[in-house]
Amino acid sequence: MNNNFRSVSVVGTGIVKFGKHRDLTVPELARPAVMNALREAQVSQKDIQAIYSGAAISGWMAGQRVARETGMSGVPIINCENACSSSATAFREAWIAVACGMIDYALVLGVEQLTRLGGGTLPLDQEDIEVSNGMVMPGLYAMRAQRYMNDFGATSEDLASVAVKARRHGSLNPDAQICTETTVEEVLGSRRIADPLTLLQCCPTGDGAAALVLCPTDRAPKHNPKPIKVLGSHLASGKYIPGFRDMTIPEITVRCSRELYEEAGVGPEDLDVVECHDAFTIAELLYYEALGLCERGDAPKLLHDGTTSLGGRVPVNPSGGLLSKGHPVGASGAAQMVEIVRQLQGRCGHRQVADAKIGLTHVTGGGTYGFDHGACAIHLFGR
């Protein structure tokens, strides 16, 4: 990190309930989140100097379309597409712009309307040599699961328990797409998607939006009684490895988190709450290990002993995560940040993590051959 950077804080957050919002336009979907973030920050839409928007499949210029209907047209707008890391990438760009002093007030937006695709697996690029041979995203994660179960003795019940925890947390989140609890039996008995993954081990198709307002930390108290500092921001891209690769090690997440921890002077032992990219059950287990929350092969133990559940030492995905809260691809990064900021502000009601001081968000994704994933963005927040 540049030593001349100013400290930056989040002073406003907004999110809409994730779900199937086919009847809305993208700007209509995003507007409540934007308005709430502005209101919380006590800034006028006319004070926003730039918009950083993340969306993956919701059409060109999502940022401009939303700005048109929220009184912010005309300012510089940066539209970011980085698969599942789109709005976290947008947040990072906003953070850099404020930190370096180029602007003082930035709006970050994440928005996605997956229902316009009609459901099913995400449409991947047919030019890709794996996609054109039958690869789908659940298949990629399923092969990681197959190998992880083989190498470490993990079971289908271990995988299903991730979904059970996610749904337990999600049942406490009124903004979650799926707000009901489930059981290991129900998860394992649901429709097969890509063995060993069943339907309830895959994030649902849905629509959603989230927004945040950033400003320099020295101005933050004027805007919010509980501003939350950005302690660190890191973005990594996949390394092209055409040969053998251990699919149980999400290399991009390992690298991105290590570099961020070093930059920020914060370690996994310092984290009070985490939102990670649990697009499929196996992902959360692999990310416990990749983020340094436990040793290789110990993820099922960490899950079962309650460490990562609400009430545990470091609750993971108190929002319900992608599995329960939902995964409108481009919106997920910003949505995770809204959750972590509100956790650190003590505003999360029945799913509140007691006295949370430091939180981490982690998104990664993008299915394209030769990479673990295309992009990974990790952020640290503190009060």
Binding site: G134, P138, M143, P196, F244, R245, M247
Partner: protein, 145 residues
Amino acid sequence: MTSPTPKANHKIQSAALQPHEGRTLKANEVVVDTQGHLLLNASKCKDCDLSVFPPSAVCPNCLSENQQALRLSSSGKLYSYTQIHIAPPTWVVPYIIGYVDLPEGVRLFGKVDAKSTEVLKVDMPVKVVVTESEGQYRYSFAPQG
């Protein structure tokens, strides 16, 4: 040819009505050995030794154009696999996919020719089978033993 009708085919334009059979190999990706067997052809960088499939005229690592053909073995190990039950409309489900590691240091992705995953195990030996049909070449993996 009796092919299962893909689900939801009313959405598919007539040009794409055929069920998806998998990626067709380009001419420089297939070679015939002296016994007439079809094999896959990769490339190896003479400068940094990186092997890649599909073959590339330029090394994706060091950008050298000094590339040699690399004939890939037809025997490998199944690194991982899964049976797919949901896929885009032109694919007929279920089907099995997997990654196969070859002695040349190349990992291939493709369909596994098996009725069920019950006969499959991680690290089991497989054959890379290249087939020709109506002038189009494809490969898949046949489990051994």
